[in-house]
Amino acid sequence: MPDLPGKALARELIEKSRSESRATPVEEVIQAICGDGLDDGAAHRLIGRLWTLERMFYYIYGGWGQGLEINDFPPSIKYLFSKQIVDESTHEMLYLDALLRKGFAATQKDAFRHPSGCFVMDSALAYYVFSLRNLATYPHPIRIAALNLGPKVLELAWMEGLTKAIADPDLKGVFESQFVENRSHINMGRRIVEEFVTKPVEAELCRWACAVAKRDYGRFLGELSAFVLGHEAPAPPAPRRQVTD
């Protein structure tokens, strides 16, 4: 079987992301957990903030989905994308379950309102979300390369490190049970890039988009680590403003 056109590019992007994967700001959180464990307050901040990000994937993928048309890609590509949407929804549910099970929030409504769980517009989290949403206007293989061969590789690596460090079996399970799906997202990304990124210009776009996504994800991880370790207080939510009659 002849080599797929994007095989070298997929390998290059994965290897580059892997080489950066254990140098993210989450390492500071992992070190802190290895030293002093994870107290309830820090666990609440960690799970709450990750839950907020996962919720935003409905918004990101909603935009990406609008960029898919009938007959532009084989059904298998669309199936993989829908699988990824379901997986992301599962992870969102896992985080919310953990918040409720641990007693960090009494109800879903409380979890939404809490500073650890509410979406704040002026934040690195929002910046990363808008950065990914912005890829909606790019061809599907490029945005999948950006996310699945960039931040997803970093995420899997820090999540494995975090899982080893966490002692609480319940919290460990929240992260550990995501490994299979996260690995499959990376594999889906690899396959899509291998098969559908054929032109040099597309390869350059993949490299650029992947670097941008990782830069903005790194900014989010920096904010997350500072928040979890109590180095900075969460920004107060912006005041509500009536914009319609």
Binding site: S89, T90, M93, L94, L96, D97, L100, R101, T107, Q108, K109, D170, G173, V174, E176, S177, F179, V180, E181
Partner: protein, 84 residues
């Protein structure tokens, strides 16, 4: 007291039961912490037969089962929950 469980042979994993259970703050339906991430019901939290909201929203008939009798539950007739 009768209780419910999910029949994974029939369940389509649409997650409507999870969503409705969260919305009414019973929080008995949860995602299992294993790689398949199947939906389960926490019998300590489920208030069946006091609440039957998941049955009303479940689109896959027979996928929610009464534990004691093994009877596959069918969604209640629409008139049970539709406003007059």
């Amino acid at each position: 007291m009768p209780s419910l469980e999910i029949d994974h042979e029939r369940c389509t994993e649409c997650r409507m039961c999870y969503i409705v259970c969260r919305e009414i703050d019973i929080n008995a339906v949860y995602v299992a912490l294993e790689p398949l991430h199947r939906i389960e019901i926490d019998l300590q939290k489920c208030t069946y037969p006091g609440c039957t909201a998941c049955l009303m929203y479940c689109p896959a008939e027979g996928s929610i089962v009464e534990v004691e009798s093994g009877r596959s539950m069918v969604p209640p007739p629409p008139e049970a929950w539709q406003e007059a």
